[in-house]
Amino acid sequence: MGYSFQEKSLWLMAVGLVGWFGFYFGTVLPTETANVMPHQMALFVLAIVMLVIMQIVGHIVLAIVDRRSETDERDRLIELKGTRNAAHVLATGVLLALSAALMTDGNFVFTHVLLGAWVLAQLVQIGSQLFLYRRGA
């Protein structure tokens, strides 16, 4: 069975997230400071902007190539299941981030635990959806 538009779109998002946030974390985490520094914020903004640009360009290309981007009840069910799984990860991450905020000085650890949890939650959502698409539902 070939890949649907939705699956290609999810792969695009997964590659973008891993690529740009891998670059961000790989650059910022080794230079840990007490508080998030302006150049680290700039790198974060760069990662977000590049991710958005990659999504826009990628989806334009996908829409041209695929031409069938409609969704139905099965797509919505799969998205809901993915969102449910991601919510568990994000909730755990928020608790971890709050714990980190209480145990460490500055905002660096808190911010990055929270950001890491968000990225991980997104990846869990995408991974869940890709798994469900391959399984059928």
Partner: protein
């Protein structure tokens, strides 16, 4: 709506054959779902909503129970 546990089976493949080898794409377009969803329903991997089930039966012009069967455990 949800994952088929194997209890609900269907005759969509046979019904498509008797409709002049109707393609999954054609059925999907007439029902208003994606081809991947028709494939998943046909393979008993996904149980459609009642609304989609009725729309499939309507395409083949047969009662719902001619399309879907609920087996005993």
């Amino acid at each position: 709506m949800g994952k088929g546990g194997g209890l609900i089976t269907n005759e969509i493949r046979a019904l498509r054959f008797h409709q002049g080898e109707m393609t999954q794409r054609e059925l999907a377009d007439r029902v208003g779902v994606t081809r991947q969803t028709v494939n998943a329903i046909e393979g008993n991997k996904y149980s459609p909503s009642l609304e989609v089930a009725y729309r499939i039966a309507r395409v083949f012009d047969v009662p719902l129970e001619k399309v879907f069967q609920y087996g005993e455990e």
